[in-house]
Symmetry: C2
Subunit: 229 residues, 2 copies
Amino acid sequence: MTGVFDALAADRGRIERASAAQRVADLLREHITEGRLSPGTRLSEEALGEALTVSRNTLREAFRLLADQRLVVHELNRGVFVRVLEPADVADIYTLRLALETAGVRALRSATPERLAAVRTALARAEAAEAFGDWVTVGTADLHFHQAIAGLAGSRRIDECMARLMAELRLAFAAVPSASGLHEPFLRRNQTLAGLLESGEIDDAEVELTRYLDDARAVIVRAMTDGTA
Amino acid sequence: MTGVFDALAADRGRIERASAAQRVADLLREHITEGRLSPGTRLSEEALGEALTVSRNTLREAFRLLADQRLVVHELNRGVFVRVLEPADVADIYTLRLALETAGVRALRSATPERLAAVRTALARAEAAEAFGDWVTVGTADLHFHQAIAGLAGSRRIDECMARLMAELRLAFAAVPSASGLHEPFLRRNQTLAGLLESGEIDDAEVELTRYLDDARAVIVRAMTDGTA
DNA sequence: GCTAGGGGATTGTGGAACAATCCGACAAGA
DNA sequence: TCTTGTCGGATTGTTCCACAATCCCCTAGC
């Protein structure tokens, strides 16, 4: 059944417009993960609907999407609020991250060339951004690097799961004051990790990854408790 | 801050009414995972809304919830359909399952007593159901057993992720004709796996788990392709 | 200071209407 | 006969409005 139009069919997604609810959700997600909407903010149906010129119904559909991605919380009869991340949430996120990224590392030998290239590309981007002192981009590239590691498993569901985790994690980053000093030490360790992967030292990479995530979690949790307490 | 009402607070969920959309989604999920709504079925907004006596708005919110859980697919301007699982989906599900359950096995030593008890309980239920020849219940208990294994990691997000995967997997089971012979051989291996966990043989348990999931995937994929082709 | 109750604001849900889109049927042409 | 253009019915996408249910804050009363 495979024909000459397979390449076109693969790009089918490009012609499909997104629904209004989807677009609204995308927009809100962007604002939330970039910190322009701070955690705890109440998202009034009426006010937001007017601001975005969409009806309450459409907005509510968008809220459902975001709630499922844990970026907002929906309290019955009270409305939706930008998610406030507790330190316990961050710990939980890192537990899942470890599981997913470990799965990626372990699948190193059976990873496709594209997946391997994605790891290198993300690291290269982080290094380039560091040269410019652009720490926000370094942070983004860091997330992409680790997403690429989990991606080595070659699983669509793992990819989606990681993407959600990273979006959630940005909520935590937004709560941390100085993003500049946050990523610098971890870039070095990403390079170490990438080196171990390049030389195929899976077990060592796994150990390094575990330590990396433990330390990163500790740093963020501490920053969060320092900031609030 | 912890007081004498902690036990009551833990049951808070029981008194909180769910929204209509949530209830509709729960109802539909039940019908889908139990095979009463076969994959591919179109869920007409008008017909379903009338059958459940809820408005189209409410129904659409429920659809968003189910779509995010991958139990239905939403095609723009065409409607929502009960998800049809491809063999590739099953393979993907098992990749993620392996990652999550492995994380549980590895966290064995730091697992809480409740989490450990959940593993034993699920296994006992499967054995009891086997004695009655109730293979449907064996299948359910099997899913709970593996959910409990992933649960050893003690992570809320891993729990939720597994719960979704299991719901998806039921879609595949629905496509397999004889559920009776499907679970029997795997119950034995669950017992083996549980034994390794009881005696703390983490590495062996991990190996056995990996083989188990590989075999289970192969069985289901074959049953699916046999059934359709 | 605490409790009870009232009023205003917001969400939850239903319903109707219209536009946008899809799909099948039918007709015209090569 | 096969392909292509066009039309019309049916369904979804989105908006708007109405009203009940619920929450939250404020005030009165003890």
